[in-house]
């Protein structure tokens, strides 16, 4: 369940794959990568190929009871399909493993990776990858029972912390509490299932992990409401969509697809009231966003109502978050830093001029 663990486990294969890939990227004048017009390729093909998962990674990629993909990342794949085609019927989710993400992107098996992927310098520079603006910040956090009486780091003074042995999360937590002069006993386990069970069995006072994973763990508790996240994050990872380098327009489309959901939220436009806003736009930003005055489509090579379609069919960023991760989902993760800046988060919509 633990994100870090999963990534470490699958690190050997990516290393092989990555070195092959780096060699290939240097030698070959890559098939689809360099020639740049992903949008045209997608439109000619008639389908958008977006990343799925080999299994599930709640709450980002999972499968519903009637065998359909769902989740936070999947919703943004759907949004991208709607932006391009006006409907999500032309979206094909290709199941890929963590290790496969970048090679599959390079080989043209997929057009974009929207898969809880952190923006790192190595990926950005050595793998021939271009990242979008971060659409999610993944916070490493600590979960603790509410009965401890607080959610600040100081609450855990003299207590204990369950962590997965040998992970970066373990080191991060140790440094975090040490630097604040808080005495805490680390209890580590090899397997994330053991770590979780130990926490629920009361063998330690708190549990460290990646925020969304903690939320998934919490909802499996006997009484999820008894547990809360610490009010300070230990570390943040910006998650971005990954695309092939050298296709600026494609990067623009993905960036503005995210931005459209944020601008809609900032202006109070939801899938429910988008038609009213289109009929009576409050200001020039809304006019442009919903295609009342032209411009938003042409500059990207899309139709002028693409953002309207996205908001109408998929929703704004608040709706997407709440439905998959937040209050309306079973995971009930606080929006926290993933809220817009005006609500105390770190998401800053770009300016629509």
């Amino acid at each position: 369940m633990n994100n870090q663990l999963k990534r470490i486990k699958s690190r050997i294969i990516p290393t092989i794959a990555t070195s092959c890939l780096a060699a290939l990227a240097l030698t070959s004048t890559s098939v689809n990568a360099a020639n740049g017009d992903t949008l045209k390729a997608v439109q000619d093909r008639g389908s958008l190929l977006c990343s799925g998962h080999n299994g599930s990674f709640p709450p980002f990629v999972q499968v519903t009871d009637d065998n359909k993909w769902s989740g936070y990342d999947i919703d943004y794949c759907r949004a991208l399909s709607v932006a391009i085609f006006g409907s999500e019927d032309d979206l094909k989710i290709v199941p890929i493993s963590w290790a496969q993400r970048f090679p599959s992107l390079q080989s043209g098996d997929i057009d974009v990776v929207i898969k809880a992927t952190g923006w790192t310098m190595g990926r950005d520079t050595e793998l021939g990858i271009q990242f979008s603006v971060p659409y999610f910040v993944g916070a490493t956090n600590v979960m603790m029972p509410k009965e401890l009486g607080g959610t600040s780091p100081e609450t855990l003074e003299g207590g204990s912390l369950c962590a997965n042995a040998g992970t970066s999360t373990e080191r991060l937590a140790a440094n975090f509490f040490k630097s604040r002069g808080i005495e805490i006993e680390m209890i580590t386990f090899e397997k994330s299932e053991e770590t979780r069970d130990a926490y629920f069995a009361g063998r330690c006072d708190s549990l460290v992990g990646w925020g969304p994973n903690l939320a998934v763990t919490r909802q499996s508790a006997e009484n999820p409401d008894d547990h809360a996240m610490m009010d300070v994050a230990l570390a943040l990872e910006p998650e971005s969509a990954a695309m092939r380098q050298g296709d600026d327009n494609w990067v623009d489309i993905v960036n503005w697809m995210f931005a459209a959901t944020w601008i809609a939220e900032a202006n109070g436009i939801t899938s429910g009231n988008v038609d009213e806003h289109k009929a009576n736009p409050a200001d020039s930003t809304v006019e442009k966003l919903l295609g009342v005055t032209p411009g938003i489509g042409e500059r990207l090579g899309l139709s002028d109502d693409w953002a309207y379609n996205v908001i109408k069919q998929i929703g704004n960023s608040a709706e997407i978050f709440d439905r998959n991760i937040g209050a309306e989902s079973v995971y009930k993760l606080d929006r926290g830093l993933n809220a817009l800046w005006s609500n105390g988060g770190v998401i800053v919509p770009m300016i629509l001029d």
């Binding site: 369940m1 794959a17 709640p58 499968v63 009871d65 199941p95 493993s97 909802q219």
Partner: protein, 359 residues
């Protein structure tokens, strides 16, 4: 041999036998009892977990946390994902029928009546075409479902069947090639076999799925699924070739030479003298390789296929079901067990059958 020629050795009574083998000394008695108690304990625990204290229906999931036994609700609610992966919900009948057709084909080709080149190839051609038509669609008003939505048990069976059907003839060619009297051919085949045997399966699959699109021209690439199957089949064939070669080497060279003096052609000697005996000699290891291959199909999950294990992880990987992964894995293990156990029982049956005349 008739009864008159010798007497049977005196029979030990059953109870006496048990006494001799299990309770012959105080230490033995102690060990026997301890082992028996241990196993009974485990069995009782398991039966209680799996059957007595378990919850069976999806809607009873809230009871699972107190029940203390298995929560089969997860299977009740999510078994369609395990069986069909991402196959569209309304079209599950197609996947079911396709699976049934493929299993029937496999079972039928195990029956000796089908064992001629003509019958076997017709059977497999029919089975494969029906399977493909049902899964892929596009004809007779069936909607097209591309391989990235295939999954679950159907995909596992498809990969296993395809690998076997491509790999088995290839392995015979490789084994014969390696034993060729022409040194260049023998060396080349040897090199080919040893090259692929020295690579891990994972590397081969990863190369087939991810790296080949960079190297091959577009028209030769095909779907990722078929590239992976070809890679897997080559890997399978190289191992199977060595099993068959072991069987071939066990045949005294005099037999082949006798055939030669009788004026039999190469193909006749191979099909009538060498291969039948080679199969009999190395049957256990050939069946073994099939068993290993069936289980190894789960590796394709790493190149993004939704085979049964990945489907299992998708089945428990959402909301309230995340804690019931043990139930899902037990369920999948049972499916694997049914297939692998039938395979090995069939191998045992074949061994008995082929032993005719061998004493």
């Amino acid at each position: 041999m008739t009864d008159a020629t010798y007497k049977l050795p005196p029979q030990t009574p059953f109870l006496r036998k048990i006494q001799n083998s299990l309770f012959s000394s105080p230490l033995n008695t102690l060990l026997s009892i301890a082992t028996a108690v241990f196993f009974i304990f485990i069995i009782v625990k398991f039966v209680d977990w799996a059957f007595l204290s378990s919850i069976w229906h999806a809607e009873d999931e809230p009871l699972c946390k107190e029940a203390g036994g298995a929560c089969w609700s997860v299977i009740d609610a999510r078994h369609r994902i395990i069986f069909f992966g991402l196959f569209p919900y309304e079209e599950h009948w197609r996947s079911t029928v396709a699976c049934a057709v493929m299993i029937t084909t496999i079972v039928a080709s195990c029956i000796p009546w089908f064992w001629s080149a003509a019958k076997l190839s017709t059977l497999w051609l029919l089975g494969f075409c029906t399977f493909y038509l049902l899964m892929h669609g596009g004809l007779f008003g069936l909607s097209v479902i591309t391989p990235e939505r295939w999954g679950g048990l159907a995909l596992t069976i498809f990969i296993f069947a395809a690998v076997s059907i491509i790999g088995m003839p290839l392995s015979i060619v490789l084994a014969l090639g390696r034993r060729s009297k022409l040194p260049v051919i023998a060396r080349l085949f040897g090199l080919f076999i040893d090259f692929f045997r020295s690579l891990p399966l994972l590397t081969i699959l990863f190369t087939a799925a991810v790296i080949t699109p960079f190297v091959l021209p577009g028209w030769l690439q095909g779907d990722k699924l078929y590239r992976v199957i070809v890679g897997f089949a080559i890997f399978f064939a190289c191992y199977q070739a060595e099993n068959i070669r072991a069987g071939l080497q066990a045949i005294p060279s005099g037999q082949d030479e006798a055939g030669l003096t009788l004026g039999l052609k190469y193909m006749q000697r191979v099909t009538r003298i060498q291969l039948p005996q080679a199969f009999r000699n190395s049957l256990p290891s050939i069946v073994n390789q099939f068993v290993i291959t069936f289980k190894e199909t789960s590796i394709v999950t790493i190149v993004g296929f939704f085979e049964i294990l990945a489907s299992g992880s998708a089945a428990f990987g959402t909301g309230k079901w995340t804690v019931y992964y043990i139930e899902v894995y037990v369920f999948i293990a049972t499916i694997y067990f049914i297939f692998v156990f039938s395979l090995s029982r069939y191998g045992a049956y074949l061994e008995r059958k082929l032993r005719v005349g061998h004493g």
